[in-house]
Symmetry: C2
Subunit: 143 residues, 2 copies
Amino acid sequence: MLHGHSRSDASSLLQSRGERATPARKAVLDILLGASSALSHADIDAQTRSRGQPLDRVTLYRVLDWLVSHGLAHRIAAEDRVWRYNVAHDQDHGHAHFRCSGCGQVFCLNELRPAFAVSLPEGFHFQQAELTIQGLCPTCNKP
Amino acid sequence: MLHGHSRSDASSLLQSRGERATPARKAVLDILLGASSALSHADIDAQTRSRGQPLDRVTLYRVLDWLVSHGLAHRIAAEDRVWRYNVAHDQDHGHAHFRCSGCGQVFCLNELRPAFAVSLPEGFHFQQAELTIQGLCPTCNKP
DNA sequence: CCCGGTCATGCAACAGGATTGCAAATATCG
DNA sequence: CGATATTTGCAATCCTGTTGCATGACCGGG
Ligand SMILES: [Mn+2]
Ligand SMILES: [Mn+2]
Ligand SMILES: [Zn+2]
Ligand SMILES: [Zn+2]
């Protein structure tokens, strides 16, 4: 599983946008940059805690909201009704997601972009398509 | 918006399956049969209440679970992390859904069935695809 | 038609995820 | 440095959904 970013990007990423690079933001962004799958609030909380720099629960929620609203992360809603977060890979937000029915992990499929002109019933107006693939991740797929 | 079923189907539907036709089940199934979009627990609760036959919150959850596990309803997870329910239209469960970004309503697109051979990264095993269209419903689309 | 086992219901308590209000701490800029 | 705006922490609350347990209803066999 490829990580794609080096661990020290967090601060520079924030600074390059002219945004306040607070410890909480750096820590969370750093964790997201190092993740191979989308992380839940609980996942991130556990990591901050094991790194010895625990954040308040609410602060973590707010940092995540902030990252999303500033285009640095994106948020995925899965069937278990838990938000999961991932660094925003590029500008577009149209890629598909993969959810493992074994372990529940969620992965972004950055290459896979649902692009089809769908014909909707009378009166409906199309804005965006969202595609989620379900299956087994490499780990759960092992025999 | 088409309803597709007559209101008295509920009892017969249950009886034709040799299942207990309790008042709660009849009421909930009846409400689902009369709905033009998928209904949340809260929606259904409000309707039972306004019909003067309120159900216990837990009973409603259990009736809904029961309907789903017996193939009489199906359940949709939307971005707002609320389950929505719909009568099961036919055997297949592979159709797409439409979520209105204006009012939040969810509609089944029974005709639209995602059928594409998707190429996943190495090691991932495909099981099922889930497609959700986002846009404006006929009501919210009005100028 | 009624009796009894099985299944359904109601109520209370609980769980997990997320949000809100508010005061204290921190950053940024002149 | 001090004024101002932003961020953080903590407590309380909300919302959706679940679990345990006792009571009540359904329905097939007698
Ligand atoms: Mn993604
Ligand atoms: Mn549907
Ligand atoms: Zn897995
Ligand atoms: Zn709408």
